[in-house]
Amino acid sequence: MGDLLRRLLRQRKAAVGGSILLGFIVLALVGPWLVMDPTDLVGRPHQPPSSAHWFGTTGQGQDVLAQTVVGARETLAIGFAVGALVTLMGALIGVTSGYLGRRVDDVLTLTTNVFLVIPGLPLAIVLGAYLPSGPFRMVVVLSLAGWAWNARVFRAEAMALRNRDFVSAAFVAGESRARIVVRELLPNMASLLGSSFIGNTLYAVGAQVGLEFLGLGDVGAVTWGTNLYWAGNDAALLTRSWWVFVPTGVCIALVGFSLTLLSSAIDEVTNPALKAPPVATTAVRSTQSSSADAAPPSGALLSLRDVCIEYATERGPSRVVDSVSFDIAPGEVFGLAGESGSGKSTLGYALLRLLPPAASIPQGRILLDGTDVTALDETALRAYRWSQVSMVFQSAMSALNPVLTLGDQFHDTLAAHGRTTRAAAHARARELLTMVGLAPQLVDAWPHQLSGGMRQRVGIALALALEPKLVVMDEPTTALDVVVQKELLQRVLELKQRLGFAVLFITHDLPLLLALSNRVGILQGGKLVEVDTAERLRTDARHPYTRLLLSSFPHLSAADAQVPADVALAASERTTAPATAQGGGR
């Protein structure tokens, strides 16, 4: 919570929104003592702004400035009260519903959804018409008409949190239900409570003004809504007295805008994806290359020379890949092993220039068949992607477009790289699906109709659609069971034999990589610490980190005694902790 506040204070939106709102709160608190009585008839009606009446007079001859200032008090008071009440009701009903689940949830969710589709204003009007007048009525009416949306949001949040393991862990620790709700769930909802309160206050001010404008408020009170009601009643438009309704409207909008700013600031702080990331400044690429930049060995399909990749962060550039050089021969399987944060996926994306805007390649060359990939322009890059190098992602689950059939996704791909008809593309898709061991009828299926293993096969079929020279596979089997994994990899090797493409296989699973690849590179903290053939690495690894990785995987057959390296392991874990901890933020 404190952390949240601190981050909010650094936000420009929050600062602007907060200051405006604070200004109005101060105005509402002390303002009424500084101006004249807003109900006094102080002058002639519909007088334009003058030195005596800065904002002019109303149709009754009251001071507009006084009315605007005094109106702030009740409007904001009711706004905040309703905001708090609606948040409380929504949170209570939503959390109860989401946390208790089952029958209670069914009933409460149904009730919530019904209230959600019943339009608020007409309901508020009917409610308001039958209740005795006064500020209390406004609070009750607005709360009853507006709680449903919150209940829905809080229910979703409670459901998500309830399924988090820390709640189960608290149960296992023997904590009581009440304590789990209060101490484990609610603190995690602090930011949601905050943004809901702001959103609800926004709703409350708007709805209150609307109801009062209709005449459903206490027309004798001085609020922003009644000001506008009287402006309408006294024909402010007809008499061309803009000053009667403009100040109040601007005040309402300013309060509303400040609340919008605050809520959007909270959204950005809690969901950093919404904030525009720092964009890498087109770094000066060092034209002068190091001595390692000799001509790539003839015959290499892909050559990386001194490739560095940096991410722009608020604290300056952070280097995630550092001077990496290696070659892949045509038809070779090259394995890239590393733990999280080693830069292995970043490197894979770099081969297709798929890095996010925050990343840049300040140095180094990526040569495919002699062409420097880092120097391609937009059009050339689009033509190069997929036809030369394609990619299989870790989760075909989320990589395939859920709203297009498989056939259409193949069609898009083929059509982007040459003329084709829909029929021809679908025929080719059927052929490719058969090739990876799937039924050709699946061309008309949607991704959600396939299992994880099937989707990954589709991913491979898609990657081979244009017969590229190199396929980058980024942990394609990590989410799969071992049996499915083996089936898939055997299929890949068989296709490679037949079609002759090279593979860059990226994973943390070193034993798998050693069985699969011709050569393997080990990445640690962005540096390639060892590259060698799979056989040599298995028996004769040189770098201590490679040996550490190798010893981390227990074997099935070999009699691996309790490795005495355990002490060293614990030590290495401690030293690598800060690096991995960065990625672990919420």
Binding site: I118, L121, G215, I252, R385, P402
Partner: protein, 326 residues
């Protein structure tokens, strides 16, 4: 199909809930609003007619379930009771034409606003940090902070009273007879322009922002990475891969927000003396015409429920996953 039936069942339930609320609220209200209401008839009607009148409004001495049954029976016949303000006209007649005007005005405004807003949101997210994202989005957000009806007042003041470009009130010129002619249609359009524009202005920013935010989230997914990796043309990636997926949650949100937007547009009608349900609503409130108020509540609610059902069908068409669940 099962999905459609389930949704239909839900809306029927919601309709029943609103009917019942409509029945319960007056009877649970503190004091005796019924008496207060009939007190206003005193002197206008013969005392003996009072009993008949009470019966006509459904306030009898019978137990609540008999009253409830009578109430439901009347509703099934489309009988919403008698209006006080237009006594002795039937509420259903009074609402009839008004509803058409409201649906026409609010419907057009909402659809235009959602379409344009979503497109702006797509563009803003696609060119993140560009001029659209950096200037238009906050400007529209500021515009959205004004109450709908206040924007309507300002628009009417500037373009109606000030510049005289648009008519000041009503849905069509009083010297024209409603007819299916081009002149009449053009006249209606001229009258509807300012109210519609003020509703669009007030809501555009909201749609734009929510589309922008889901679009930004979509842009970070593997689906988009794969689309780029495949070398697809940028326009196709933006529309077919990003916008198409980002649209789904927003269409659902659109259904949810309908009631809210409709409420706002009712107030806009009042400013323009537009002869829709909003205008009737203020008449009902000012005259404490309870039957009319309740009739309007039911009519508007049913309209919103129907619109929500239509949005559900739209979702069904847009999202293959919903189709599968059904």
């Amino acid at each position: 199909m099962a999905y459609v039936l389930r949704r239909l069942g839900f809306y029927l339930l919601a309709a029943w809930a609103s009917l019942t609320l409509n029945f319960v609220i007056p009877r649970l209200a503190p004091g005796d609003p019924a008496s207060a209401m009939f007190a206003r008839f005193e002197g206008r009607v013969q005392p003996e007619a009072m009993v008949a009148l009470r019966a006509a409004f459904g306030f009898t001495e019978a137990p609540w379930y008999v009253q409830y049954a009578t109430y439901l029976k009347h509703l099934l016949r489309g009988d919403l009771g008698l209006s006080y303000a237009y006594y002795p006209a039937r509420v259903s007649e009074v609402i009839g034409t008004g509803l058409l005007w409201t649906l026409g005005l609010a419907g057009c405004a909402v659809v235009i606003s959602f379409t344009v807003g979503s497109m702006l949101g797509v563009l803003a997210a696609w060119n993140r940090g560009g001029w659209l994202d950096a200037t238009v989005a906050p400007a529209l957000a500021f515009l959205g902070a004004f109450p709908y009806f206040w924007l309507a007042m300002l628009a009417l003041y500037l373009f109606g009273f000030g510049l005289g470009w648009f008519p000041l009130r009503h849905a069509y010129s009083h010297d024209l007879e409603p007819a299916l002619s081009f002149t009449f249609a053009a006249d209606v359009a001229r009258h509807a322009f300012l109210p519609a524009a003020s509703i669009v202005g007030a809501t555009l920013g909201g749609w734009m922002l929510s589309m922008r935010n889901t679009m930004v989230a979509t842009l970070g997914t593997d689906t988009l990475r794969l689309a780029h990796a495949k070398g697809l043309p940028p326009r196709q990636v933006m529309l077919r891969y990003a916008a198409r997926n980002a649209l789904l949650p927003n269409v659902t949100g659109f259904g949810m927000a309908l009631g809210f937007v409709l409420s706002g547009s009712l107030l806009t009608e009042i400013v323009f003396s537009y002869p829709g349900t909003g205008y009737l609503l203020i008449l009902a409130v000012r005259n404490q015409d309870y039957p009319l108020m309740q009739g309007l509540f039911l009519t508007i609610t049913f309209a919103v429920l129907a619109a929500n059902f239509a949005v559900d069908l739209l979702c069904l068409w847009l999202d293959p996953r919903t189709r599968a669940h059904g």
